[in-house]
Structure formats: structure tokens, C-alpha cells
């Protein structure tokens, strides 16, 4: 097992030992600004996050809905770069595993898979999600990540055919990121009714590798519901909104901590 994968699996195992799903909040580095981003990351750890999904700001985030796209734009306007995200990673990676969410053009611009993985590992990152690098396009970069000890976490969507889902499950390292619904990231009123079935099928394909569910999870009740069937729950746009409404680094930290505390209660319950 590679180094980053080991850390991620241990975090899922620890949550499982407590009889609950792992809690994985998402944040955008440099959002609402550099300092508030660092405060949000620290607040995530203090509020009981098992892992952190750390978004690297990008100009053209195709997999993201309006809330996270706006956060990308604001972070970039504030001067954020990959360096800003690695700084957040360095600050918290000794306490929880950090999984970067980075678009492929940034990997290429920083020297390709091997060079990028070196930077990410040096900052303590355990894994990476590249949302625009699906199975079939990813071989070179995936191999380079794994050689460097950075787990490449693949996505599975409701539209992924079963045979393809099995192939994705077979190459996954760390965990499989199951997209709950057809569409981009963002809060939704209702979860897809067939989600439990989809989680079960994905878990069967992933074998020993945990399955975490993200996209559209925005209330503590939804966190609790998904936590009953999945190994991990990812909360994104809802927390990005909370961080934005915080008003200051301390306010952002308080706002996200408050939501995460409720989410933990829902998971524990």
C-alpha cells in the first residue's frame, strides 16, 4: 500500500471503529482570502473532520456548480495559486489526511504527474482528486502519483456503466468518490432516491477501498442519511457558503465549525 493511501485508509478505519462514516469537509484554498482559508482548515480539524478535501483554485472548474466556481474566481482575484493551497495543506496535514481537488491543467502546468506529485507530497498531501481526468485519460498521471505515494482518488457517477465502474473500483487508491447525482457540485433539496442502491453497487465494485459520497449534500439530515450507507460523507458548497458568510477569518472559522458540529451529531446519531 502506498504512503498516502495508508493514511487515508486509516482515517476511514478509525471512523468505522467508532461506528460511523468518515466526515470529509471540502474547502477552497485562499477563500474567502488566504488567512480565512487557513482558519477554516484549522476549524475543520478542531470540529472533528476525519479528512479534508482541499480545493485548488482554478479559472475554469467544469465539474463545479455556481457556488464553488464563484469561490474559485474570488480566490484567484485575491492572488491565490497552487502555492496557497499547499500552504493550507502544510498547516493541517500532520493532523488529518488532506486530499487535493485539482484540475488537470494545473497538474500539467506544474510539470506533469511526477513533478506535481512531488510538490503535493512535500506539502503532506495524502491523495488527489482530478475531476477532469477520468479513467482512460489518466494512466500516465495516475502511475506518477502512485509512484510518489500520492493516492489518485477516482470519481464514479450515476451515469457510469457497471463494467466501467468495476474498472474504476479496481484502480482506485484511498477511496472512491461517488458523485451522488447527475450534475455539478452544489446544494440540493433532495438526494437521489436511488442513492443507497448506487452506493451498494459501488462498494461491491470497490472491494476493500472505502466509498465516500459527495455533490449536493447540504444539510445535517442529508449527512446523516448518506452516512448510513456510505463509508464517508463529503460536504462542499454548503461549507463554502458558510465560510463566505463568516465575514472575517474568525467568523468563517466559527461558521464552518458550527455546521460541522451539527454534521458530526447527525453522523454519530
Amino acid at each position: 500500500m502506498i504512503a498516502g493511501e495508508e493514511r487515508i485508509r486509516a482515517a476511514f478505519a478509525a471512523a468505522e471503529a467508532e461506528g460511523r462514516a468518515a466526515l470529509m469537509p471540502y474547502m477552497m484554498a485562499g477563500f474567502p482570502d488566504r488567512e480565512a482559508g487557513l482558519a477554516v482548515a484549522a476549524a475543520y480539524v478542531d470540529a472533528g473532520a476525519d479528512l479534508i478535501e482541499l480545493g485548488v483554485p482554478f479559472s475554469d472548474p467544469l465539474a463545479d456548480g455556481p457556488a464553488i466556481h464563484a469561490a474559485d474566481t474570488k480566490a484567484l482575484a485575491g492572488g491565490a495559486t497552487l502555492r496557497t493551497a499547499l500552504e493550507v495543506c502544510e498547516a493541517v496535514a500532520d493532523r488529518v489526511p488532506v486530499v487535493l481537488m485539482v484540475y488537470v491543467n494545473m497538474v500539467l502546468a506544474h510539470g506533469g504527474g511526477a513533478e506535481f506529485a512531488k510538490l503535493a507530497r512535500a506539502a503532506g498531501a495524502a491523495g488527489a482528486i482530478v475531476p477532469d481526468l477520468p479513467l482512460g485519460e489518466d494512466e500516465g498521471i495516475r502511475d506518477a502519483f502512485h509512484e510518489a505515494g500520492l493516492a489518485m482518488v477516482p470519481l464514479v457517477a450515476p451515469t457510469t456503466p457497471p463494467d466501467r465502474r468495476a474498472r474504476i473500483g479496481a484502480v482506485a487508491k484511498g477511496f472512491v468518490y461517488l458523485v451522488s447525482t447527475v450534475g455539478t457540485t452544489g446544494e440540493r433539496g433532495e438526494l437521489a432516491p436511488e442513492l443507497a442502491e448506487l452506493v451498494a453497487a459501488t462498494k461491491a465494485d470497490a472491494g476493500e477501498t472505502p466509498v465516500a459520497v459527495g455533490f449536493g449534500i447540504g444539510t445535517p439530515a442529508q449527512v446523516g442519511e448518506v452516512g448510513k450507507v456510505a463509508d464517508g460523507v463529503i460536504i462542499g458548497s454548503r461549507l463554502v457558503r458558510a465560510a463566505d458568510e463568516g465575514g472575517s477569518p474568525a467568523g468563517a472559522a466559527d461558521a464552518v465549525a458550527e455546521f460541522l458540529a451539527e454534521a458530526r451529531v447527525a453522523l454519530d446519531g
Partner: protein, 390 residues
Amino acid sequence: MSPVEQRFGPYGGRYVPETLIAALDELTAAWEEARDDPSFNARQDALRRDFVGRPTPLYLAERLSERVGSRVYLKREDLAHTGAHKINNALGQTLLAQRMGKRRIIAETGAGQHGVATATACALLGLECVVYMGTEDIRRQAPNVERMRLLGAEVAPVEAGARTLKEAVSAAIRDWVANVDTTHYVIGSAVGPAPYPALVRDLQRVIGEEARAQALAAEGALPRRVIACVGGGSNAIGIFAPFVEDAEVALVGVEAGGDGIASGRHGASLGAGQTGVLHGSLSAVLSDEDGQILEAHSVSAGLDYPGTGPEHAWLRDTGRASYVAVDDDGALGALRELARLEGIIPALESSHAVAWLLENPLQGDGFDLLCLSGRGDKDLAEYTRRTSAA
């Protein structure tokens, strides 16, 4: 026929969210089947003839030829219905969508030409149509917005980023991710994830096939050079494709030089960009050191895009085609020159190709073929604004 290409050398591919992969597989299979189906082709050919007005003429521009000192033939895509080559792609893709049982069509548009072409084809076939357009472009291209609405399309404003073409493409892709079961995305150029670059090239190839036969009929020989403007590159790849095997024919793509390459404000991703991923394919893009996509700049909205089709990047690397740039002032001057010499007002996009020709006359025997990709009526306000301000 050979399978639809997924890559051109290292370029192309499908760098998109996992949600879209199944739809791209479905589209690939549908196109491989349709393009070899005589009934599909018969229907498309009939509509190209009776609705679009194909074949478009190949016109020997005598006064222009006199001015440059050698014979120049213009392939008159400006005379196609809706005023540009865009209708070739829009008609073909909407026929394909209909065949696939998809009743809802989405598209993006910058200047509005592709939006108008798609709205036109949807009206013809009775399909629902939503066109994403940046609010800055909506402001600049009001007549085309009215045309789309009159044709029954919904124009969906996009507020993100610089509120132009790049963001309109992103918005359309996001819509597609959310509605992939019912919706077909008619991308407007030879860009995007596979199979789009090959699909759009196949549909625009008619330009080059007609022009090659027309040139042989007129001259008994092939042109020495084929010249076309390149933004995303659909008119260029369409006219280049049938000449790629003719090694003696030079292929010249003209990119937007904007305020000049040195200014950094341009649209020349092939000449002055990097290798990167934009909107689903690996190609030449304008991107900074951190990997952020940059805004393009051009007087012509159709060339105002920070990427280009992956097949062009491969034609560049293999040396089969060469890519040059013409700046805004050159294009504005060429628009006026062609209007005065030939009584043809070219689109500002096509004017880039004309400008390069005027500066680089053919040496020795033979003749040139230039793709006049669209008409310039849409650009009159911009032309007047830019030339009276100077």
C-alpha cells in the same frame, strides 16, 4: 470507414467529469453509425442543397488577384444560409441529435453566429433550443440575440468570468452534465472532448471537398496554398481536411494577433500558447505559469477564445500546416480592402485570412484558395467603433 478519432497525436482526449463519459461514448457510436448510413447522408445532402444553399460558389476574385499579383479564389461560405460556415455543423449535429432521440439542444455562442445557426437548425427540425451566451457578448451582439429569439431559442445569459465565449462553453458543458439524458450539446467549433473535434471536422469537411473539386474544375490543378482563419478552427479544419494528403498544397491557418503577440493581448494559442487542457481536450491553450486559463483578446468575437482544436495542434507539430497571426488593425484594414475591391464585406474572422494574404502574396505560378468563412454584416458596429475612434 475508420473509427472516429479520440486523439490527434498526443492531443485531444476526453478531459471531462466522469458524468459525461457515457454520453460521449454514445455520441461516438451514434456518429460512427450515422456517417456511414446512406439515409442519414441523403437527408443531410438534401438539406444542404435546398436549405443551406450548397455547394457554395468558388469565386475568382479578379480585382483582389490583381492587387496581390496572383490568382485568388474565395470559397464563399458567407453565402451559406445564416451567413457563415457554422450552419454545416449545426445542421449535421441536430440531425444526429434527432436520430439519437434527443429533443433538447444546447449550444454556446460568442459573436452569435453559431447560436443563430443552431437556433435555425432547431427551428427547422422542431427541437427545443437553449443558447448560452456571455452577458458582455449579449450586449455587443444585440442583433444576433434578437435573431435567436425570433427563431424560438432561449438565450441564457452567462455572468461568470469575462462574460464571453469561454464562460459560455463552460456553462453549456455544466448544463449538459446535469441534463445529459435528454440533451445534446451542439459545440460550435472543432474543440471539446472527443468525439467533438472529429465530428465537427467531418461535418465541415464539405467546405474543402467542394472547394477541391471546384478548383480542379476551374484550373485543372490544386491550389498552391489554402488559407483560413483559426479560432477554435472549424472552418480551417473543414477546408484543410481534404488537402492534408496533397503534400504539395501548403496549409496556412491565421490566428488572432489582437493588440500584437508581444502585448500578450491576443488569441494566438497555436503560435504563442502552451500545451494544456481547456474544455475537455489537450491542445494549444493560453494559460499562465500556475495553469490558469487566460482571457483571449481579439477584435473578432469568433476568434476571441484561449484554445484551439486539437487536430490543429497536431498539424502544427507535424509541420503539415503552418500557423501565423494577424493583429486587429490588419483585420480591420482587410475588411475594408475586400469590400472596396470585390463588393464583399467579410466577417472580421475571415478578414484575418484576407489580411495575411495581402501581406504575403504567392511567389511564382499557381493560385491561392482562401476560405471566406462568413459575412461581415454582424461586425459593422464594431468596425465603425474601432475605425472612428482611431
